[in-house]
Amino acid sequence: MSDRYILSVEDLTVSFDGFKAVNDLSFYVEPNECRVIIGPNGAGKTTVLDLICGRTKATGGSVKFKGKELLAMREDQIVHAGVGRKFQTPSVYEDLTVFENLELSYPKGHGVFGALMFQRDDPVKTRIQEIAETIFLDDQLDEKAAFLSHGQKQWLEIGMLLIQDPELLMLDEPVAGMSVAERKKTAELLNRIIQDRSVIVIEHDMGFVADIATRVTVLHQGQTLSEGSMERVQNDPKVIEVYLGH
């Protein structure tokens, strides 16, 4: 069972002062699958990602990534296991340049002494150049991240994840707040980078969802309301009632 799935979430529960934001949630992600989580505001979508990446501690249940229990691990250990997370609002290091932002995410020299001894050698530079081209920022490498547009910051954060080369990539509303042109470019970018890895995306843009999703999970009040292909979910009367019908 665990061989088939890269990520197995079982009976996951978190309660904030008695309020169950996520309640007995189970779902499974296959290798190379792109899973989109949709649901109305407050359904617990972001909380699910927070639980998987260790930002929020679960009250109960289990999250197994390639057979390893993530709930017992620290955030940085989860990252090293191969899980990358992009936040809803772009979080990049504004006082550092685009190059430095990417460099810090490069998977080498992550201990104290590793960081002190870290050398900016050719493989590092080549890889950063490569990623910068992928995320359309190769002309802005020496610019401070603070001077980037909102869309460019989102791309930079995606680039910071790509350089880690995670096996499971989690994106929280990657196209929110973008202009139409940026949105189109981002869709292209995401379509390219979700190949060869498993992805969990939270998104509201239905056109975008239909475009990238292998399967869709609809969350409602911390529980799975419906799961399956986009088509199936869209025609599910329960889903129409709570979400799409509005």
Binding site: R74, D76, V79, Y93, L96, L104, G111, V112, A115
Partner: protein
């Protein structure tokens, strides 16, 4: 790390200028008494440089650096006190051969934890290691529990208060409120003479530059950039796969080591160490030195320590009651109007104009780009 990535040309000029001030200008301009005073000011610069890394780069505000300054200073003072307390020098005591304050407090033998301080190598090691161990314990307890910001600042301040009370309360072991005084010689070399004080001033200057070079290396390493990243987006650093607590502990311990060296040099140059240098007020003053100099700049921190202390000596002689108010006002003014301190004023206001003037007079096209922050 190549030379250019270690220090830019502009930074090198900054280092050379400071070296000229410390090793040429001050010794040439000041008499031996005033030079010793500036030597004392420079011992605070060790703390300020550590704070520039901890607070300026890493965003960890410690209001308890006096603890580490004091621990380093006490380790040095214990060695010097034992050397000064020979049985001949202390023959009038009821127990000759132990430090005088122990005798006054009816101690009849040297406590066992004082024994290793007969050895200079041990004492010198302790000057760095004891503050680092304390910083590690505090840092480990706080940072792995994710205590940060204001809470961390308050807790460090509490430590400063606790250590002061402890030192004062245990006067038989520590010399109490008077501290450890009447220090005389270092391996037979009288540290009270003018020549010795001048020599110590230069030793202090060399050590300060060693510390500055270490600080520069750290700032320019990936760890330096990580500190800035942690200050701005701690969560992102965590989710880039770093154990944030370890980096905070490291930089806090490094700051403590710097402060310990400064404390030891204070003891050597001033000739005593007392709890008045450990507590809350001196700890906050040390933060002010760093803020006035510019908390993002390690060289600025040195100038801040020099300037504020010089002002303190000058104004507190003339207006002893007003000085503390003035210092508080200075701190508020700097935070409100010059958040990057003297270094910020230099790099934002003075330097672009200077460069403009140079550019005009040279009228050449190969001028340095203006606007980059000076370090």
């Amino acid at each position: 790390m190549s030379l250019t990535s270690f220090m830019s040309r502009k930074e090198l000029i900054g280092f050379l200028l400071l070296a000229a001030v410390i090793f040429l200008v001050l010794p040439a301009a000041l008499d031996s008494f005033r030079l010793n005073l500036f030597g004392k000011y420079l011992t605070y610069a060790f703390v300020a440089v550590g704070l520039a890394l901890c607070w300026g780069a890493g965003g960890i505000l410690s209001l308890g650096q006096g603890v580490f300054f004091g621990l380093g200073g006490y380790c040095m003072a214990m060695f010097l006190k034992l050397e000064a307390s020979t049985p001949e020098n202390t023959s009038i005591q009821s127990t000759p051969g132990i430090p005088d304050f122990m005798d006054w407090n009816q101690l009849t033998e040297l406590p066992s934890w004082w024994q290793p301080f007969y050895s200079l190598p041990f004492a010198l090691l302790a000057v760095v290691v004891v503050p680092v161990i304390f910083a590690f314990i505090i840092g480990f307890a706080m940072f792995t529990r994710r205590v940060g910001g204001v809470y961390f600042a308050i807790i460090t301040q509490a430590f400063a208060a606790i250590l002061t009370i402890l030192i004062i309360g245990q006067q038989g072991y520590t010399g109490g409120v008077n501290g450890i005084t009447d220090l005389r010689t270092l391996l037979g070399w009288d540290i009270r003479t003018d020549e010795a004080k001048t020599t110590l001033y230069f030793v202090n200057g060399v050590l300060l530059f060693a510390v500055l070079l270490v600080a520069q290396y750290v700032r320019k390493s990936k760890l330096g950039r990580l500190l800035i990243a942690m200050r701005d987006q701690e969560d992102r650093v965590r989710f880039s796969g770093y154990n944030v607590a370890n980096f905070k502990i490291f930089i806090f311990c490094l700051g403590a080591a710097f402060a310990g060296i400064g404390g030891a040099m204070f003891t050597l140059q001033v000739g005593f160490m007392s709890p008045t240098l450990v507590g809350i007020v001196p700890s906050i003053e040390m933060v002010i030195f760093c803020a006035v100099g510019g908390r993002l700049s390690i060289l600025g921190a040195v100038y801040g320590a020099l300037l504020v202390n010089w002002a303190k000596t000058t104004f507190s002689e003339a207006f002893p009651e007003l000085w503390l108010l003035g210092l508080g006002g200075l701190f508020i003014a700097v935070v409100m109007f010059f958040p990057n301190g003297l270094a910020g004023v230099w790099s934002e206001k003075i330097e672009p104009r200077l460069l403009g003037l140079i550019k005009k007079s040279k009228d050449s096209d190969a001028a340095t780009p203006a606007g980059a922050p000076a370090e």
